[in-house]
Symmetry: D2
Subunit: 308 residues, 4 copies
């Protein structure tokens, strides 16, 4: 089904995460074969007085992460007093706006149409002190079978062209070639390779991007996936000017987050997983995502894991 | 052994995380029996204009999390222009200093004695733009067997008294009663119940705290654990005035992070796990921690997971 | 008059600041006699790993200033590379919520009753991206005659008791004794001495506070003052529990900011000015306030000046 | 003289601000003729979900201001509970790194050569918790005669070309034409018009910039000015690649801040002042700068004022 409103009760704020019953978790765990753990996040580089922050793929106009040390080894080198005369400590702070800047998972409250969030929760409850409905604190962890649909590798190219729409037919073709059928309770990761464009051509990265179209989103939602991840900025394709591709009825965020309660994981780092899957021959694995329980958060920064 | 400098090579920045070989991971995965997933984090409550932030257990004098919405449902209720005329979006920012305020995992660069970090890395490389040695970005994810040593439950009390030192003998006693022997590659979680003090008596929470003493830390390090977690603020006990208990030679942070490369997970939420273990009869499970790869970070906020 | 809506036009967003015509400014400048300049701000102390931030008077539950160095002398002591081999630089960042934490000036958009801001501007235009009406960027600088009404000194005590209501009669009495009559275009500073309570008894400071009542606010508004400053937290008195004193119709913020467009300057440091006025014998001077033009800001941190 | 170390005592941390004796202040005040007040700051635009922040001239790679509302009119439109049932409040937070992003005044601790700050203070005292020597909290307010040297207007062009070095001869020529001789205790403002480049060509703005060279800095320092302001990013000229122009011995920051204790005010908004001076015929006025007393700050955001 493509619309999950009411499916898990009128009060539900977790959406497709409800599919992760103990049986599904046990089946997901049984996907582990090698005991190899791969993090799927891009670095969070927030140095203000160094070149770091600008080096990580991000969308234009978004505030980059900022990372500050409130005490560090330099202070002791300069003579700062130590604890008990000998101990050195480092301490820090992070300022982070996840959307468009770092690997993150969207709350169901992140996007909606009209006056209601997913499952009819009033959008009026998303206020300056946070989303009291469908915030990221309501989602809970995702321990699921992960499936990599490596579209770029399937095509034998480092990254898809900017105007590639990953539609239902293409997803089916990639899944077929990989001999892995997305099923209820899966987290499906769609690799475009697009982050590789950033290093040499940041402005090109920040413009149009390859990604799912509405048919691709529907295809996954119909298979009852729990979440969709990608290495592009919005899971869905972006048109030139960095705008969502598609009409309102075909918008990927609306079809997934809003209508189906299927969350999105964006700006993932999938290169190492791509190589491991190519090498190991299996595109399914144990997937783990543990969002920070930010009360009323619209997203959480995330290090998703693949356990092969 | 209690000192791991050089054990994984002169350049090593991961410490005991190196123990997580594929075999150890596979054995850890085999601990899953029920398919039940429990998050082990306390909420991150950062509302500035509400009572939220002060409600979550934290140490005195630490900057509380701040969470800001840069666009929300209130804006649309007030007439803000929507995307394509119909779409609402919410977006946010987080300001976070993890130590003392939220569930987090320490980088090996967080504490040291003299001029060298863990494994002899120069403390001079921990500077205002971050720890270029032994930062949290170097640790990598922890997928391990988790073992709960529920000291408070073992004693049959909601929380340990403030002056309880969890020493080697007590750990051995609790492990024996639970019929679970910490082994190489485990993550051991020590439950004190101390967060329950916060609600009614925040000032008492912020003073002395029960926790490991040096002998307890040594006992765990000798068993080659990968990490030690607790629901108190510093894993080690805190003396009145919220200072580290013990001499320099018996300091828990120094014995673990610094000498042994064993990282610490602090301010965990262990109540639900305690109940589940009490009910299910097994104190071991699959444990997952996926730190954010904050370049040069001294810690990462974290939602640790137990998969029972 | 006590209600200035429409007085300076239907579009006006500056309120009583419109009274500062060139003639009024010239008269204010003529108050300078000694050439002595006094800053009237309390320090902004934002050190996260030191005791600083908590030492400055502030209200409970407010996020304290945070100040971070992104490069500093410690980094060079630790070996950081210098510009051209020899130059050292320091750079920093400030995180600040002015209300309740530091000397600041309120925007007219800071408080209102019902659905309209000062002068009938729709409160709906105060959104997550800032107050597009009556924000602090609309106020402009205040160069005016300043008048100190030093109520505590008038009574011969270091600070007023917590339950002192500074009413119209008391203001008139203090002004009369000081031989200075507030007139149109003045900025009047009301000294309570309350910050002196903070050092020894922060919890007492954060509870009830002496300050204006509604009659005092009306008395000043009727004299067409441009702004009212005080060394307490809210200009108006605070009842036990740190709540605004008075009914809605007598609320000091509503009578001044909202009805009269008279802005408020809070948490000032008036001790040095008090001593200088006591010594010099004149309670009027040139007053200067230059708010930061924060687009849509609800306040600006401020160093008000008295030029005696 | 060009070197002021020791001139105001071995402990001095205020530098040329010591020149602002009462007599100098009184003379400055006498420059007021029209009673016209002009703010000299560019806006601080920190909206994260709007286009604002990027519209204000700033250097590349610097973190832009961020401004967050923690409660606003939108929340009430969405049904948030009001104080006493009727009152609406707005509250906010600002995250700011002044250098390179907004109008600000440099602390004497901002730049140095070797191991000593201005006046020989050890650079080792500039640490993660702030500059305990020569921080912006030590500077105090500047109430001085202001002198506009409008180089662009003198040349009859909207802005100087990027490679213009404003040297001693050019300053003397502009001062002569304006019939105003910089004297001890003045604050001299050098207008380049460069911000006008930003709107259409931000990348050009962020590259080379016109500004003082070493001879120009020496010429002003020799006249015992208190501070030098400009509408460019660094007062001194910037070479292509946005690097300081000149050798170490001719570096403008070192000649002023470091050797002479003469502070710098950067990224000013001087267009309105330029027009007013052109119209009014006098290039001198009362100048006021009131830095925020940020303990250990390397700079303060600032709204400088000209009172004509």
């Amino acid at each position: 089904m493509s619309d999950n409103w009411g499916r898990w009760g009128a009060d539900d704020e977790r959406g497709a995460a409800n599919l992760l019953t103990p049986d599904v978790v046990l089946a997901a765990v049984s996907s582990v074969r090698q005991g190899r753990v791969l993090p799927l996040a891009q670095p969070i580089s927030g140095s203000t007085s160094g070149p770091g922050a600008g080096r990580v793929p991000h969308l234009a106009g978004r505030p980059l992460p900022q990372h500050f040390m409130s005490v560090d080894g330099g202070d002791y080198a300069a003579g700062a007093r130590r604890l008990q005369g000998e101990i050195g400590l480092s301490d820090d702070a992070l300022v982070l706006s996840p959307h468009g800047t770092t690997t993150h998972i969207d709350a169901l409250a992140h996007m909606w149409r009209g006056d209601a969030l997913y499952n009819g929760h009033p959008a009026d409850r998303v206020r300056s002190y946070g989303a009291t409905r469908c915030g990221i604190d309501k989602l809970g962890p995702l321990v699921a079978r992960g499936v990599l649909l490596d579209v770029a590798a399937h095509r034998g190219i480092p990254h898809l062209p900017a105007d590639t729409l990953v539609d239902a037919a293409l997803l089916a073709e990639v899944a077929g070639a990989a001999e892995v059928e997305p099923r209820a309770g899966d987290v499906v990761l769609v690799r475009t390779g697009w982050p590789q464009v950033f290093r040499g051509e940041p402005a090109r990265y920040q413009d149009a991007q390859p990604g799912l179209d509405g048919s691709g989103a529907r295809w996954l939602v119909e298979r009852d996936v729990v979440a969709i991840g990608s290495d592009n900025a919005a899971v869905g394709a972006l048109d030139p000017g960095c705008t969502f591709h598609g009409t309102l009825d075909e918008d990927v965020h609306l079809l997934t987050l809003w209508r189906a309660g299927v969350t999105l994981i964006e700006m993932m780092g999938l290169e190492e997983l791509s190589a491991a899957v190519a090498e190991g021959g299996r595109a399914d694995f144990l997937f783990v995502a543990a969002p920070l329980p930010i009360e009323g958060g619209t997203a959480s920064p995330l290090t998703p894991l693949a356990v092969l």
